[in-house]
Symmetry: C2
Subunit: 454 residues, 2 copies
């Protein structure tokens, strides 16, 4: 659209004026949680595991935690398998030439020099690909579609995210030279969602990428016309060994240092495509601000520890949670919590506890009741950054479930930026976490071990 004549007068008037308002400031928040999210996204930016930026983020985090009054602030580095993105592009070449918005999945291997030019075979589901005869995709590229939709509890990410986690392995088993998936995401923007894929040990890793939802729609519409599809695919990302990652750990000592501690986790690394505002700078902001807020009524009985974990995103071969459990597995822990599901409001709580801790659980639920947070059945399991220590010590766990309706619009995309964080929702998280901590960190009675079936 060109500028309509009717607007030209407005335009001429405005350019003559020097009294235009200054540009509207972006949304601004206040408080410790916001400071951390704003700082990490502005001063560090993308911080993929094993990168110099993740290293800078550790220094930034240690300084910040020290400045906030935490004790025993330390950086604990570890080695891991890294993955480095390279140049990436794709286009349909038949039946109609169309550029595609694509991004490589973590642990994809590179396409051949000059690109991979091959037939693209459409599968509406992962199950359809699994049903394809062995060897039937030799020299071809598989496209895997799916139908993920938004859900408040994020439950679509289990089955539909599996297209990303397992699809490339299945495609490789069928002989495919490469694989492209519909992004495991719920938005409609030309920003594909990255994330790790996990090649089984018995298959050859192949180039693996995700296209955005609008591009997947285009592929589906084109496939529906019944003519063969062809793709020209370039994905140059590759794994690299001996990457340095690390955790940042800090304590707010309790009145009784002999009591088992409360550990709160987030992850400091982000995907490389964005500044990781919701995944997971927000988590680090929330747990840190909440730990401090729990001091407000007086020093709690138990020590509260924050773990800003390294390499959560590509940590399948050893992430910050594993390293933490290795180093700190002999220190007595009582309970673990993790924040790694964005910055929207907490709406539900789950609590895995020993049978004798029902009273404690009731007091936690009562503390959340005035905030509109609903108790839910089902196991609380923390997440990747605490699962190793939970398993090692059979810890009690509280999950404060955030509203995930929009989380998979942003997750692992270039759109995970500060403007997506609502300062009021972020603060609601802090308030909910602080309410829980005031109960559990002041629990004088032993907090029981939780025996799990799996």
């Amino acid at each position: 659209m060109k500028i309509p004549t009717a607007l030209r007068a407005v335009l001429c008037a405005s350019t003559l004026s020097l009294s235009l308002p200054a540009a509207a400031a972006p949304v601004q928040g206040t408080g410790v949680a916001w400071e951390i999210v704003e700082g990490l996204t502005t001063e560090i930016g993308p911080r993929p595991a094993g990168s110099q930026a993740e290293d800078r983020a550790r220094d930034w985090g240690a300084q910040k935690l020290t400045a906030l009054g935490f004790r025993n602030v330390r950086v604990e580095e570890f080695k891991t398998l890294g993955w480095q993105r390279g140049p990436e592009s794709a286009k349909l070449t038949a039946p109609y030439p169309q550029p595609l918005a694509i991004t490589a999945l973590g642990f994809s291997v590179p396409t051949p020099k000059g690109g991979l030019k091959a037939e693209l075979v459409y599968f509406p589901t992962l199950a359809a690909l699994e049903a394809a005869p062995a060897g039937s995709l030799k020299g071809r590229v598989a496209f895997i579609d799916h139908a993920m939709r938004a859900a408040q509890d994020g439950s679509g990410y289990g089955p539909y995210g599996d297209v990303r986690r397992k699809g490339p392995t299945v495609a490789s088993r069928k002989g495919a030279a490469g694989v492209v998936i519909r992004s495991a995401g719920t938005d409609s923007h030309r920003n594909p969602h990255t994330g790790v894929t996990i090649f089984a040990k018995d298959v050859k890793p192949i180039p693996a990428g995700a296209v955005s939802n609008p591009d997947a729609d285009l592929i589906a519409r084109t496939a529906a016309r019944g003519q063969p599809l062809a793709i020209d695919l370039t994905l140059m990302g590759k794994p690299f060994p001996d990457a340095t990652s690390g955790n940042v750990i800090a304590d707010l000592p309790g009145r009784d240092p002999s009591l088992p501690i409360i550990v709160l986790a987030c992850h400091l690394d982000s995907w490389d495509l964005a500044t990781g505002a919701v995944d997971d700078a927000s988590g680090c902001g929330i747990i840190t601000a909440a730990a401090l807020a729990a001091q407000e009524g007086g020093q709690p009985l138990r020590t509260i520890r924050v773990l800003w974990s390294g390499n959560e995103e590509t940590g399948i071969a050893g992430g910050g949670g594993d390293d933490y459990a290795k180093r700190h597995g002999s220190e007595p822990h009582a309970l673990a919590m993790e924040s790694d599901f964005g910055a929207d409001k907490v709406w539900q709580v789950r609590f895995s506890h020993a049978p004798q801790d029902k009273g404690l659980a009731d007091r936690v639920r009562a503390a959340l009741w005035p905030m509109g947070i609903v108790p839910h059945e089902g196991k609380a399991d923390g997440g990747a950054d605490v699962e190793a220590i939970i398993a090692a010590q059979n810890l009690a766990v509280i999950d404060l479930g955030q509203d995930g309706t929009h989380y998979f619009d942003l997750h692992h995309t270039p759109d995970d930026t500060l403007d997506k964080v609502d300062p009021a929702a972020l603060q609601q998280n802090v308030d909910a976490w602080a309410a829980v901590l005031k109960v559990v960190a002041n629990e004088a009675a032993p907090i029981g071990k939780v025996q799990r079936a799996d």
Copy 2:
């Protein structure tokens, strides 16, 4: 986020099942307008002026219009100044290293080999840049911020779009080596908005790009910290002469071929970043379907012509509207209309007519009244594809104003794809246009010339 343990059971169950539903089909519409939008976006895709894709789109359009029963279907080629995108990237290098999502503006010239590395100077408004001393930006890159917000009538695009249209010229006058603007858009995605800039004849063209709104927020936050900013900028796009564009024109002859005709316009070209679903395949779908729908009560008195114009987007040096007026300026026209503001519903109507046509205008308004379309004051001026023929023949004009609240979320971005078109809203446009055409194309009395002040 890794997959929570609680979801693993779901996940294992689903991958064992072969009875998963097929992937949800993308939104599907029906009817001529939808067929055109779906077809152009699927079978042609991006079709920038002067490209082979725009040429294919002309063939596609001529075939489609012939198949729909239009007469005198012809392609009229013309030469124009083209612009070709090249590789493009940008990063802040100081005070914090941060990649930026950037795209070149149309008629940008290339950065030097190896990129332009320079200080980045922040200006909150175009007026602030205009107030900078002459020569003060020598060797530097200007960043121009602004505060465009969504408006139903799209009126923000006048003053704020000016940052794109005029900003680069102003920056060049101050000696800048390059210019980066906040996209003229209202979304919050990492998809910058392209669009032409217009270098005044007395200034040296410089590399000019737009960053996405989240990236502009980042630059603003960084600038607010008070340290000098630096950028590393690569924008390799450049103009090219003697590009071939062209119009597709087709008629539905009226019962009285001697009466001046009604001309309806859209544009066939799109920006290169997306498939141009809302800008402006939808316009072509709307006018074409409406022209056909106007036949439903019987052949109208006057001939209705559709003009699918070439090179609207970069047509400042001669677009389809100019070529149409040159070739067809001697054929009598009665009234012009254009659809080039997306695919959302029509909510207002404006009518520029001769004083003696008040009765006709009242009948048009009455036809729209049951559809909730409100008469508005103010001049109707069509748009770029009809402005030359309107000026040449002093034509009456009807503007059916679409809801533009979300138009500048998508405008000139990679996100302008089919999924953004609501088939029901598209059909509402067709119905509104057809209601108007049934009145004006059956007007036996002369439709008066409109004398304009400018």
